[in-house]
């Protein structure tokens, strides 16, 4: 008890003279790049230049949407960007919907259309070598490394020296390296880590208008059961049921409207709110 009191006394004594000694300081990056999403910018103040930003999440969590928004915003701001696509999964049509300027985008496909049986290890190797070449060349506003389709097991096996090398290559430059993956793999080498989670999927039923701004969650009245009630009772009496006879109930909707996403800032830790909620529309 006495030790606590003495510590409190010491703190009160010192804080009178140096009031900032016990305050938590958040070091703001000197240069930032807007993510192109207002909610994410409010959460993070933007992506720091000369540093690595990591965006991770499970499949259909919205991580690719965040990455595309960053690239679209940067290309519209006349910055030359590069996308290292480890799995050749980039869709120019949805990027065009995000208003990306393709003349300022260098797309590097690490697996050609015919290389179906290329191992994930080989894709990772190509992706990292390509990213290294781009970062060493310099001059790019954003370099995006898309590892979203690489399995979590292989992503965790990436040696940390690569990340140190990337961080060393871009520090004191204005390049933003954004890494999209299934799990967090950059770790302490990243200046910022965002976890993206899908909260809900928005569907449009037949009576809804097609305006993305008028989205609202609506319980669909088109739940379909493919088995009559008698069959349901019969199923319950059966001790074993083959998968084909299990009653299947699903919702039949009109259109996929979009995704409701939650973005949580894992790093850096600060006193500000850590979560943001946004809507990614499937039909721009």
């Amino acid at each position: 008890m006495r030790a606590f009191l003495s510590k409190a006394e010491i703190q009160s004594e010192i804080s009178e003279r140096i009031d900032t000694a016990f305050k938590l300081h958040e070091r703001l990056p000197t240069e930032i790049l807007s993510a192109g999403i207002a909610e994410v910018d409010c959460l993070t103040s933007g992506l720091p230049r000369g540093a690595i930003t990591e965006v991770f999440g499970t499949s259909s969590s919205g991580r690719t949407s965040v990455m595309l928004s960053v690239l679209a915003h940067a290309t519209n701001a006349q910055e030359v960007c590069a996308l290292v696509d480890a799995s050749n999964a980039f869709d120019p049509a949805s990027a065009a919907g995000a208003r990306m300027v393709f003349d300022r985008l260098l797309w590097v496909r690490c697996a050609a259309d015919g290389e179906v049986h290329l191992s994930e290890g080989k894709r990772i190797e190509r992706a990292f070598k390509a990213a290294d070449l781009l970062l060493q060349s310099g001059g790019f506003g954003v370099v995006a490394l898309d590892l979203s389709d690489i399995s979590a097991r292989d992503v965790r096996r990436i040696i940390s020296s690569w990340w140190f090398r990337f961080r060393r290559a871009i520090e004191n430059t204005s390049t933003v390296l954004i890494v999209a993956a299934a799990v967090s793999c950059v770790g302490s080498r990243a200046s910022q880590a965002l976890e993206v989670m899908k909260e809900n999927v928005s569907w449009t039923s037949a009576s809804d208008t097609l305006s993305p701004a008028q989205y609202q969650t609506r319980r669909s009245d088109s739940v379909i059961s493919l088995y009559p009630p008698a069959a349901d009772r019969a199923r319950k009496l059966m001790k074993t049921a083959t998968p084909s006879l299990v009653a299947t109930k699903f919702r039949k909707e009109f259109l996929l409207n979009g995704l409701e996403l939650n973005v949580e800032r894992q790093k850096p830790i600060s006193l500000r709110p850590r979560k943001a909620h946004l809507i990614a529309t499937a039909r721009p």
């Binding site: 807007s34 006349q78 208003r99 050609a112 699903f250 996929l256 990614a280």
Partner: protein, 485 residues
């Protein structure tokens, strides 16, 4: 010292300038039959000025097949070019005028010799100036004629008589034109030669003493040739955006490569790296006997960065990076995507990536176009789609036409589960007149995959993944086109 060559007859089939270049690179074409050469520094090659004049006369007398002119020429050597020209025109054979002895040789020439037209150089770029120069020449001739008429009235008949007159009196009566003519007569003019434009040759070659079979020694040879080429480009303040390399191989085949650059450059190190990267992808099949490199000279690009325009990659570094990326992943897998004007799904082409030119961007009525980042700042986030290339062959269980369960046997993508929500079908078809036309029914499916354990001991719960699935109408086969993420 200057040497003047005067052909006693007009030569049309052989260039007099080419003949003169054999003795000195500094040549002035005074007239169709007269040249002046700057022979300072030629002593090491030809000896004294008199020996050089003898050499010129001997070579000119030789047949054209041996590099001569097949005619006799007058050669005169003097300390100033005008004196050499008058001596060559009016004194036969070889004439050597020591400095200060011009009047001794030229003093007896009549003053009508001063009517010879002033030297004018035919520049290929000055077509438009030819008429103006001709008028000026006629005007000068007329003035000289008037001056000479005046001199004749005074009883001046030779160069010596004219040179003996007092300069002050000439200046008062005939003006500066008269002073200039008197200096010409006295052989005391000092001027520079109006040199002929040198022929620009941007090609270098070398024949090797022994065949080269490896890349490393070939790189040394290429480095030397590219260094010479770039030095020549630098000399004329030019650059190039096209390099051609030709290797003569031991088996008689000629190996040629052409390198096209998006922007003009003249850095020999960049050229060497690009050529080596290009050659490594398709190396020559036999040892190399000779190497030649040529380029097309163009004006260098002027790149002015704006204060508010973000910095872009340097063109030379970018070109090297693109070449290295092409070697790593293939040239077809790098570039900028371009959507094609068709409704075919996933229709795009890869075009060569080039830095956009932002220095001369102008919009309507010539106003400069500024970046509009605020235009997309207010746009909502767009749900991205990840394409499976190629589409995954899927096995779909359906009931009454609705997919209920899906399974795609692919190790990298775990597409398997129960359909919990779906939208569709949306029929799309097109280009039925082609053999590769498409007709399909598309569905957006929310597939719930069951919980699975991971390597680190945790268990991931069931998750809903959004896929776009389609069924081909022709074959009835199901495919997974991609995933919403």
């Amino acid at each position: 010292m200057f040497a003047s060559i005067y052909c006693r007859k007009i030569i049309t089939d052989v260039s007099l300038a080419d003949f003169a270049y054999a003795f000195s690179p500094l040549v002035e074409k005074t007239g169709a039959d007269t040249l002046v050469l700057d022979v300072d520094g030629c002593e090491l090659l030809f000896g004294s000025a008199y020996e050089l004049a003898n050499e010129v006369a001997k070579l000119a007398a030789k047949p054209k097949s041996e590099g001569g002119l097949s005619t006799k020429v007058n050669v005169a050597v003097a300390a100033n070019p005008d004196a050499a020209v008058y001596a060559a025109r009016f004194l036969k054979g070889i004439t050597f005028i020591s400095p200060g002895e011009e009047l001794t040789c030229l003093g007896d020439l009549p003053i009508e010799a001063l009517l010879s037209p002033e030297p004018k150089v035919q520049c290929p770029e000055s077509h438009g100036k030819a008429d103006r120069e001709e008028l000026a020449a006629k005007k000068r001739l007329h003035e000289i004629q008037e001056t000479l008429d005046t001199l004749r009235l005074w009883g001046v008949k030779t160069f010596r008589d004219f040179a003996a007159l007092p300069s002050k009196g000439i200046s008062e009566r005939l003006g500066q034109a008269g002073i200039k003519l008197q200096q010409l007569a006295a052989g005391k003019t000092e001027r520079h030669l109006n040199l002929l434009p040198t022929i620009r040759n941007f090609a270098t070659s070398i024949e090797l003493e022994y065949p080269i079979a490896e890349m490393e020694p070939l790189a040394f040879v290429l480095a030397r040739l590219l260094n010479q080429l770039c030095a020549r480009l630098h000399e004329f303040a030019l650059a190039t955006n096209e390099l051609r390399i030709q290797l003569k191989l031991e088996d008689g085949v000629s190996y040629e490569r052409k390198l096209t650059l998006p922007s003009p450059m003249r850095d020999h190190k960049v050229f060497l790296k690009l050529l080596l990267l290009n050659t490594e992808t398709n190396p020559p099949q036999s040892p190399v006997l000779a190497v030649s490199v040529a380029c097309e000279p163009v004006n260098p690009s002027v790149l002015q960065n704006g204060l508010f325009i973000p910095r872009a990659p340097e063109p030379e570094k970018l070109e090297l990076t693109l070449a290295r990326l092409a070697k790593l992943v293939g040239a077809d897998n790098i570039g900028s995507p371009e959507l094609l004007d068709t409704y075919r799904p996933d229709a795009f082409r890869m075009k060569r990536f080039a830095l956009p030119d932002t220095s001369h961007r102008k919009g309507f009525r010539g106003k400069k176009v500024k970046a509009q980042p605020a235009a997309i700042a207010n746009q909502p986030c767009v749900a991205a789609f990840r394409v499976f290339r190629p589409p995954l062959r899927a096995y779909v269980e359906t009931l009454h036409g609705y997919p209920t369960r899906i399974s795609a046997p692919d190790k990298s993508r775990n597409v398997k589960g129960r359909v919990v929500q779906l939208a569709g079908p949306w029929r799309t078809s097109g280009e039925w007149w082609r053999t590769d036309g498409w007709a399909r029914d598309e569905w957006d499916l929310a597939v719930e995959s069951r919980a699975r354990s991971t390597n680190d001991g945790t268990t991931s719960g069931p998750q809903q993944i959004l896929y776009r699935v389609y069924r081909e109408l022709n074959s009835g086969a199901w495919f997974v086109a991609g995933m919403y993420d």
